[in-house]
């Protein structure tokens, strides 16, 4: 099977899941006890306004008709109107998407780069103090609540040392022209070095907090996978040929040790998306997670529904991309 055919097949298999996810999201919001208009508006409106609103929101129609209307408009990018801001929900999501994407990508980068580096270092120095401390670090990393870690980092680096900002994406008065919405890239593209430094300073603590759990797991898997590979015959051959140790480790061993590591990195997507909700709350990071939590607090149900549907769909599509990556790296998968 070619990669293209595999992709089409994988995509077709996703359609029932997408529909199922949309039904669950739709029903969950409708399962909230009480009249949705009461919950959203409280006692603030008259009976006429209440009836008018019921009609506008389509709440007087049968459930399956409501679902179908909601689903077909959602597929066209219409997720309804936010009760709090009166903005289209889809626009609210798009406005905040780059902040979340930037945070998650930088966290993933930190987790992968340092995770592999630490993991390889630990494997090369097996049973030494370096190895022990890397194992200890990864043990602590998977158990630490990242929202607490974020707060402690703020206390240490922002409050005590005053090195890094407490929250937000940019300092007051700093402006970066919005091209992609990813401030680091926008600042570089527009040659705004001070803007880049400012954005980076704001990004460091949240990205590091978010990266911790994944980083710890990547260290663990890289170490054990590397130890397995380093004991293989072909590594002994490479050493016997007189290759330098650095080349043996980073060129010959690392490539084969990477397969389980890629699997773990793929599994981190869900962790990072959940973690982003927590990290954004700690650092007042204006992303999608913050949008969701605020919407839950304000009972702004169109936004809750829209964000959950959007994130769940994004998660499903990212999983397809990860699967495609495996299929590319390991052709055996395509023939299963």
């Amino acid at each position: 099977m070619t990669l293209y055919k595999y992709f089409i097949k994988r995509l077709a298999l996703t359609i029932p899941t997408l529909i199922g996810v949309s039904i669950i999201v739709f029903l969950l919001i409708h399962m909230i006890p009480g009249d949705p208009i009461d919950i959203m508006m409280g006692d603030r409106i008259t009976d006429e306004a209440r009836e008018a609103m019921r009609e506008i929101l389509g709440l007087d129609l049968p459930l399956h008709v409501q679902y179908w209307q909601w689903f077909t408009s959602a597929m066209q990018g219409d997720l309804g109107i936010s009760i709090r801001s009166s903005q289209p929900v889809f626009q609210e999501i798009l406005d905040r998407l780059p902040a979340t994407v930037e945070l998650t990508l930088v966290a993933l980068f930190i987790a992968v780069l340092f995770g592999i580096l630490f993991g390889v270092t630990a494997a090369r120095h097996r049973n030494t103090i370096i190895d022990q401390s890397m194992i200890g670090f990864s043990l602590l990393g998977v158990s630490i609540p990242i929202f607490w870690l974020g707060m402690m980092l703020i206390f240490f680096f922002s409050v005590m040392l005053g090195w890094l900002p407490v929250s937000g994406r940019l300092s007051m008065g700093t402006a970066i022209p919005s091209l992609t919405g990813l401030y680091l890239i926008d600042a570089l593209l527009s040659g705004n070095i001070s803007g880049f430094v400012d954005a980076l300073k704001h990004l460091l603590l949240p990205a590091f907090s978010l990266a911790t759990v994944s980083l710890a797991l990547v260290v663990r898997v890289t170490r054990s996978s590397m130890l397995d590979v380093l004991s293989e015959d072909y590594i002994r051959t490479a050493r016997a040929k007189g290759l330098r140790e650095r080349k043996v480790v980073y060129v010959h061993a690392l490539k084969n040790a990477m397969i389980p590591v890629v699997t773990v990195i793929g599994l981190q997507l869900a962790k990072l998306m959940g973690g982003a909700i927590l990290t954004e709350t700690v650092f007042s990071w204006p992303g999608i997670g913050r949008l969701l939590i605020n919407a839950i607090g304000f009972r702004d149900y169109p936004v809750v529904q829209g964000v959950v549907l959007f994130v769940a769909f994004a998660f499903i599509f990212m999983n397809i991309i990860v699967d495609m990556l495996y299929a590319y790296l390991d052709p055996r998968i395509r023939y299963e």
């Binding site: 029932p16 899941t17 199922g20 996810v21 669950i24 999201v25 969950l28 919001i29 399962m31 909230i32 006890p33 043990l139 602590l140 998977v142 158990s143 630490i144 609540p145 929202f147 607490w148 707060m151 402690m152 703020i154 206390f155 922002s158 409050v159 407490v166 997507l269 869900a270 998306m273 959940g274 973690g275 909700i277 927590l278 709350t281 700690v282 969701l292 939590i293 839950i296 607090g297 809750v304 959950v308 994130v311 769940a312 998660f315 499903i316």
Partner: protein
């Protein structure tokens, strides 16, 4: 005590870390059980004349871990928090075990349309990022510890059901199941008498590894203020309440509850890991 159990304990005791974790977990459990008797103050009693008092590091012997922004005793709140976190954790495990095993047994044993429908539904639940699913369910159900338990359990039920179903598919083809059926055994008899005892080991291993994770999710919901009352002495909710005061220098309101979450999660994770290794080594023998 039977010999299998002894063997598992012998292997478990070899890991010093796992033994230390076991004792920390034990202390936490004792704290949770005896909490109301050893807590010096009422964990929810507000005392505005004693706000922001630092603890023992400034010689405070009345409130050894200080007081929070409403003058509540931090030490008492932390003990009360142990009770909440552990009871939510255990309840999540109980709900997951019962629901996950039931769904997995039914799906795997009966097969056919039932199996297809259940498995599709499980695939759909697994398509959500876990925290997102717990959040939206907690937001739907409203505030309350019982609802938070349910919201967190729904994260794990699909995975457990899948594990059980997988084991059932293997077990139900075994000759002893066929023999029992030939002797006139009914479905319930076969499921409870033959299938269940043979799929229980992976279930127990999965459940022990789950406690630390469930405590972490409880704290996350408390921190986000979804499903758990923000004023309750839940560790995550305490962190959220103390967040603004951290920047002002009142660090003890966030440091201690955080350490407790960390210790609880770490000790239960190490305990679960140790147990899994001990059980695995027993299986290998």
């Amino acid at each position: 005590m039977n010999s299998e159990f002894k063997q598992i304990i012998t292997v478990y005791k070899k890991s010093k870390l796992a033994v230390a974790a076991f004792f920390i977990a034990l202390i936490l459990m004792v704290l949770a059980f005896t909490g109301p008797y050893i807590a010096p103050y009422d964990p929810v009693e507000i005392n505005l004349s004693q706000r922001f008092e630092p603890g023992f590091w400034e010689g405070n012997t009345e409130h050894i871990l200080g007081t929070d922004n409403l003058g509540r005793d931090m030490f008492s709140r932390i003990i009360a928090g142990a009770r909440i976190s552990l009871s939510v954790g255990y309840a999540v495990i109980a709900i997951t075990a019962v629901a996950g095993m039931f769904i997995g047994l039914v799906s795997g044993y009966f097969g056919g349309v039932v199996d297809i429908v259940i498995m599709r539904f499980i695939d759909i639940l697994l398509a959500f990022p876990p925290l997102l699913l717990a959040l939206v369910i907690a937001a739907t159900l409203g505030t309350g510890l019982d609802r938070a338990m349910l919201a967190i359990a729904i994260i794990y039920i699909p995975s457990l059901a899948r594990i059980v179903r997988g084991s059932v598919l293997t077990v139900k083809e075994m000759p002893y199941v066929e023999a029992s059926r030939a002797m006139g055994g009914g479905n319930i008899w076969i499921i409870l008498g033959h299938v269940l005892p043979n799929v229980i080991t992976p279930v127990i291993v999965y459940l022990t590894l789950l406690l630390g994770d469930a405590i972490l999710y409880t704290a996350a919901l408390g921190f986000l203020g979804v499903g758990i009352d923000p004023s309750s002495p839940e560790w995550g909710a305490m962190l959220s309440g103390g967040k603004d005061f951290l920047i002002l220098g009142q660090w003890w309101i966030t440091v201690f509850p955080g350490i407790m979450i960390f210790l609880a999660v770490l000790s239960f994770n190490l305990f679960g890991d140790g147990l899994r290794e001990a059980v695995d080594s027993k299986l290998r023998l």
